[in-house]
Symmetry: C2
Subunit: 236 residues, 2 copies
Amino acid sequence: MTDSVKALVFDVFGTVVDWRSSIIADLEAFGGAKNLKADWVGLTDAWRAGYQPAMDRVRKGELGWTHIDVLHRMVLDKLLVEFKVEGLSEADKDHVNRVWHRLKGWPDTVEGLTRLKRKFIISTLSNGNTSLLVNMAKYAGLPWDCVLSAETFKAYKPDPKAYLGAAEVLGLKPAEVMMVAAHNSDLVAASKQGLRTAFVARPGEYGPRQTKDLKAEHKFDVVATSFVDLAAQVGA
Amino acid sequence: MTDSVKALVFDVFGTVVDWRSSIIADLEAFGGAKNLKADWVGLTDAWRAGYQPAMDRVRKGELGWTHIDVLHRMVLDKLLVEFKVEGLSEADKDHVNRVWHRLKGWPDTVEGLTRLKRKFIISTLSNGNTSLLVNMAKYAGLPWDCVLSAETFKAYKPDPKAYLGAAEVLGLKPAEVMMVAAHNSDLVAASKQGLRTAFVARPGEYGPRQTKDLKAEHKFDVVATSFVDLAAQVGA
């Protein structure tokens, strides 16, 4: 089933990096340095909760193509008011917004990617914008062969253009590309376009109260507990 | 002048890889294995000579967007007749065409890029298509942070869209990006869009009879003899 796979393309937020712990730690340190108290955990969760609705505005055509740094900032500006975080300069706000460029991998991420890279082309296929993904790779030591983004195709997953575009620019048939994600819906959408699928559970992504994506809910080609387990299962 | 530079973007054919020696060696080995005799040196030079005219057809709108693998194949099919290379199967022709994915770096390439990557984002900015560049990076061990291609922007250099598009997707101002090339014309075009420029001489690119691009003919920000020299000059 996976013998024909030549490239693995990865969802990033949650699948490759632990955005929640990374952002909470970064904002708590920022708040400490600025002597600002706030509910950073609540702000982080609310920020992420605003992510899909913001992309929906682009998906529905309410907004023209708008990349994630800009969408994150739109959501952040509202949340700074709601969470009563006051006195930030424009430079501060930009620094906070770019926390999404400073996310750390899960403990197995770098080891797993490094093994997978020996056998496969490994690329991002994320709704994050290219510069976010490139800066994150430098920060977290992610050894991508290629950085593909919704921005590359001007289409947010689960738009078929993103999955088919990735296969096309890699010069591969959809069945030669495996989507790796911690989210059932991303893999179902990839599968509909003919890509292979690998589910890697990240039950801590949304913190202790996570209720969804705790396990694979469909028949995916591979179901793994970590990137190292994924590498072992695909012979890398 | 170069203190504000955050990313280096590289022309690839000739600047990063020695296409001529790589292709001649590959085709001679292929011919040997197939017991085919031909003027492989002449075919290689004619193939490269057909590259700009083929892109010109796209630049002028005679052809819709067509990437380099397809343009290379169009030129190759004519040259196989002209050079009387007969009896190739479709798989053989595809293998020959993909020789452009199997090019080797100059002796200083990997060491120089590895040093530069410590201080800067390093990306391709090539007229080669994405899959060609990704496969070449695997083959030649090129440690790119990002693979940007004319295909990303649907515009062949020296179209301003390619240079400005690279800065935009990297989230940088043009002056924060330095174009690295062995070709004066590429750097002049990059400079017109506000990018910084580094000329690295590759006087052997076109073989012993090379007549152009033997040296920097304009005032570029850096003029270097190799990628290792470039790294030293920019403090990487």
